[in-house]
């Protein structure tokens, strides 16, 4: 008896994981801002947005969590599927860094989409908060690709 060691099955573990991902990607954008003056403002604003996203997710979770919803049984995600590549190579140019950011955003979109799909109808407002972030991130992807 007992589930897989590393899988994310509880809401608490998913929220903590989302917090880690947002933190890592915010740091990545801050590093980009430091390295590439031409995109500094955009990158810093993306890092700031990440922090807003996690507040949104936490607000949704802490606002609805109760014994009437399936907090301990709503997810089954493998964290390794959403590992972010956030170390920027010394030699990376602006275009390379943007491609890396696009890949990171795609991974985050996949994470939130999967989490929303699994918890749909089980976690009240939480999947909706995830999908709002997916929408924002898709807009962000368009923007990153245009830079």
């Amino acid at each position: 008896m007992g589930g897989n060691d590393m899988r994310l099955q509880t809401a608490s573990s998913v929220i903590s994981f989302a917090r880690e991902l947002e933190g890592e990607s915010a740091k990545f954008y801050e590093a980009l801002a430091e390295k590439f003056a031409e995109g500094k403002d955009s990158f810093l604003s993306l890092a700031q947005e990440n922090r807003k996203y996690i507040v949104q997710v936490e607000r949704a979770y802490y606002g609805v969590i109760s014994d009437a919803i399936e907090g301990c049984f709503a997810f089954d995600l493998e964290p390794g599927d959403y590992a972010l590549e956030t170390t920027l190579a010394e030699s990376a140019g602006y275009a390379g860094a943007l491609s890396q950011a696009v890949r990171m955003e795609e991974t985050l979109v996949r994470f939130y989409t999967d989490a929303a799909k699994q918890s749909e109808s089980l976690m009240a407002d939480v999947p909706r908060a995830f999908m709002l972030i997916v929408r924002k991130r898709n807009e962000r992807l368009v923007k990153l690709k245009s830079l």
């Binding site: 008896m1 589930g3 509880t10 573990s13 903590s16 109760s66 009437a68 049984f73």
Partner: protein, 494 residues
């Protein structure tokens, strides 16, 4: 996965909170044990009769001024408490896990549900309003006022140490009464934390008191002529006793008892969404709640039955068991060894009665290095018949008893044959079946595609049959009615 930091440090001695002061009890001292680690995390007093009498006296003295405090001003105290609870949300949640053993998601859920009652009570200026009619006869008007009564006793159970007293206490004080809360001596820290926040919110001395203890405190409350009413949640035998005693002493009473909830599964249900609901319903809080699913009643042919049960059993067999402060854990321990033994006794009775144990919770793995003292895995019994003890009595543990019915009519008859009427549910995609179930089943709370039928704070926490003794219920408008007396004024002016 992260194991969150424990908020209770050392082995503190719990004090009583009487008349706005922290008072050391003269009663016997008992250990408070964290059931996951099986270690003592605190000491709790079993307070004396004198101490409950002192709390009643303080409340009686505080009542006249508190009653005269305007509803708007009282609501502001309650609002400050609500803000403090939000500020300390994570801390009080972790306290629950540490002292009770439930998972952190469950504790946060409990904090949210409890805090929502404080939030609803903030609306007391509206909720406590009476009504009036001008000109009941020419020149004569009539109106109704809701008056507070005085002092109330609130007796909490071990399974929701934070939330359950909050089904009552915020409404009691917001309407102008004073309260004495007696937490379970097994997990008193949550109510201690609330009392600290009550103090910080600035409630006047004597309005909100906490007296720790056991039978002596309860008897003291039941017998004290200065207490106007009791709100109790616990087992059915105790609820019945409290109801009787309150009848003898002329107190109003809410006495919520036990349950044996059926989850009826129709063949047209959404299986993918229903399976996780079964997990949380039967095994959430390790089955220690009066809204837990207990009997899984599957309607349909052999093929549907086998396929549904296989999916449930497969998911249940993978439940991660461990210390609730580990965020990956899905099910914590039983509250103590006595409760674990009680569950094992029922398991033995099921086996003896001929039910088939398809998942044996006596064999389990614990995530992390914790003693197995209070832990059990989930159990699933098949071929259970309604006459078996495991189908009739409240086990209060992680045990699913699976039964079958040929159609909805038979299922409803089986549900209605149950002595309890707390939180039965149906899982179906048919509106007709759902309506039929809701209409015919005798139960205070009914779930349609909901595994735990926990009413929100602005609805009453209902109950029928042996699950509830009384008339008005905790939470929302009914709690406001319970904690107030209707005074009707008829007036004319010459």
């Amino acid at each position: 996965m992260a194991v969150l930091e424990e908020p209770i440090k050392g082995v503190p001695l719990v004090k009583n909170y009487i008349n706005g002061e922290w008072v050391e009890s003269k009663g016997e001292i008992k250990d408070v044990v964290n059931p996951a680690k099986y270690e003592t995390i605190g000491k709790v007093p079993i307070s004396t009769r004198d101490e409950i009498d002192a709390a009643v006296k303080a409340s009686q003295e505080a009542f006249p001024d508190w009653r005269r405090t305007t509803p708007v001003a009282r609501a502001r105290y309650v609002f400050r408490l609500k803000n403090l609870l939000e500020e300390h949300f994570e801390e009080v949640s972790r306290v629950q896990t540490q002292e009770h053993g439930k998972t952190i998601d469950e504790s946060r859920g409990e904090t949210r549900r409890g805090t929502e009652n404080v939030e609803v009570a903030c609306g007391i200026p509206t909720l406590q309003m009476g009504y009036n009619l001008e000109d009941i006869a020419t020149g004569i008007d009539e109106y109704l006022i809701r008056n507070p009564l005085g002092v109330f006793g609130i007796i909490g159970p071990f399974n929701f140490p934070f939330m359950i007293p909050l089904w009552s206490a915020p409404y009691a004080v917001a309407t102008g009464n004073c309260v004495i809360v007696k937490p379970s001596s097994e997990d008193p820290f949550s109510q201690l934390k609330i009392a600290e926040l009550v103090e910080e919110a600035g409630f006047p001395p004597g309005v909100w008191n906490v007296v720790n203890g056991g039978r002596v405190v309860v008897t003291g409350m039941l017998e004290h002529p200065g207490i106007q009413g009791i709100a109790f949640v616990g087992s059915t035998p105790t609820a019945k006793y409290i109801y009787q005693k309150c009848g003898e002493t002329g107190k109003r009473v809410i006495a919520q008892g036990g349950a044996k909830n059926f989850m009826v599964i129709m063949p047209d249900c959404n299986v993918a969404a229903t399976v996780p609901s079964m997990m949380t319903s039967f095994f959430g809080n390790t089955g220690q709640r009066c809204l837990s699913g207990a009997n899984l009643l599957i309607v349909g042919d052999d093929k549907f039955y086998a396929s549904f049960l296989e999916k449930v059993a497969d998911s249940v067999s993978k439940i991660v068991i461990g210390y609730g402060l580990d965020e990956s854990v899905q099910m914590g321990p039983l509250r103590d060894t006595e409760k674990k033994q009680r569950v094992l006794g029922y398991v033995e009775s099921g086996i003896q009665a001929g039910a088939r144990l398809i998942l044996d919770g006596r064999k389990f793995e614990i995530r992390g290095d914790y003693p197995d003292t209070c832990f059990l895995g989930p159990f699933i019994f098949e071929n259970v018949t309604p006459d078996m003890k495991i189908a009739r009595e409240e086990i209060f543990g992680p045990v699913m008893s699976v039964m079958r019915a040929k159609d909805l009519d038979e299922a409803i008859d089986m549900v209605n044959a149950c002595e309890f009427g707390n939180g039965h549910g149906i899982f179906t995609s048919s509106g007709k079946s759902a309506r039929e179930f809701q209409y015919r089943v005798v139960s205070g709370n009914i779930g349609v595609n909901i595994g735990i039928v926990a009413p929100m704070a602005f609805f009453p926490f209902s109950g029928m049959k042996d699950s509830f003794f009384g008339i008005l219920h905790t939470q929302g408008k009914e709690a406001v009615r319970f904690f107030t007396e209707s005074k009707v004024v008829i007036q004319r002016w010459f």
